[in-house]
């Protein structure tokens, strides 16, 4: 797999998204130190990118953290309930913006699918993890991953 999407680029994108949309401060998204803890209730938001390169940008974290992310985006109080609708819209939108920026790294014009949110992102046939960034958002675990597959035309080339 050609290094179309680099680690530092994904980190930059993630930090800009969080700084601009959530925190007002790029410093609140940092690399995670050490092993990731298991999530009590894992949840993922993702968006597919298609074109010459087919892939998926996936955000994964614990539901409690995703709820807090939604609260920050929707200006809800710390104790306010986050409905499923709120969560899907807010968490999905973060995945949408991250995915859109990943798409813009690609050499040719691609298109973006609709954001989706579920406990686990389903498998994408033939995809490998291209980048997996283990991050700390306000000190809490948050994973930003990019999966990718080369199109049929590239078959036969080893990545």
């Amino acid at each position: 797999m050609s290094a179309v999407v680099e680690h530092d680029q994904v980190l930059t994108i993630a930090r800009e998204v969080f700084a601009a949309m959530v925190d007002g401060d790029p410093g609140l998204l940092q690399p995670w130190d050490g092993d990731l803890p298991a999530f009590d209730q894992s949840i993922s938001a993702w968006v597919d990118v298609s074109g010459d390169w087919h892939g998926r940008a996936v955000l994964t974290t614990d539901k409690s953290i995703a709820d807090d992310l939604a609260r920050a985006l929707l200006d809800l109080g710390a104790d306010e309930e986050v409905t499923d609708l709120d969560l899907v819209d807010a968490f999905g939108e973060v995945a949408n913006v991250v995915g859109g920026n990943v798409k813009s790294l690609l050499p040719t014009q691609g298109s973006l699918g609709l954001p989706q949110v579920a406990p686990v992102a389903p498998a994408l046939a033939g995809a490998a993890v291209v980048q997996e960034l283990r991050l700390a958002w306000r000190g809490r675990p948050f994973v930003v991953a990019v999966w990718g597959i080369e199109k049929a035309a590239e078959e036969g080339n080893r990545s």
């Binding site: 800009e16 998204v17 700084a19 601009a20 949309m21 007002g24 939604a70 985006l73 929707l74 200006d75 819209d89 807010a90 999905g92 939108e93 949408n96 913006v97 995915g99 859109g100 920026n101 798409k103 813009s104 014009q109 973006l112």
Partner: protein, 127 residues
Amino acid sequence: MRALVIDDSRTMRRIVAGTLHDLGFETVQAEDGRAALDVLESGIDVELCCIDWNMPVMDGLEFVGRVRANPAWRHITLMMITTESEQGQIVRALAAGAHEYLIKPFTADAVRGKLDLLGLVPVKETA
């Protein structure tokens, strides 16, 4: 002044509308280009539209084209706010008649800066 905020994400509409409120705008929201056209056609006076690109039913690019084709809406400033950030996409949007283009993610300062360029922020008072 009133702005029409068009995006299929409620979260994003809230963020954009919030920033515009801070800058002194009233806002109306629509979830796609078709709904946005309905708002304009209903006679609501709007000076600014902030438009996402990728939306169901009618996307932002088509909305821009439709507004620019209607003489009654010539006075409306059209700013796209979108994740589409390839050079070619920005050129397409400007060619379709968008006046400005803001790439997501954006800050409130960035919105203000663009509106400054467009002459849409109230005149500053000096000391």
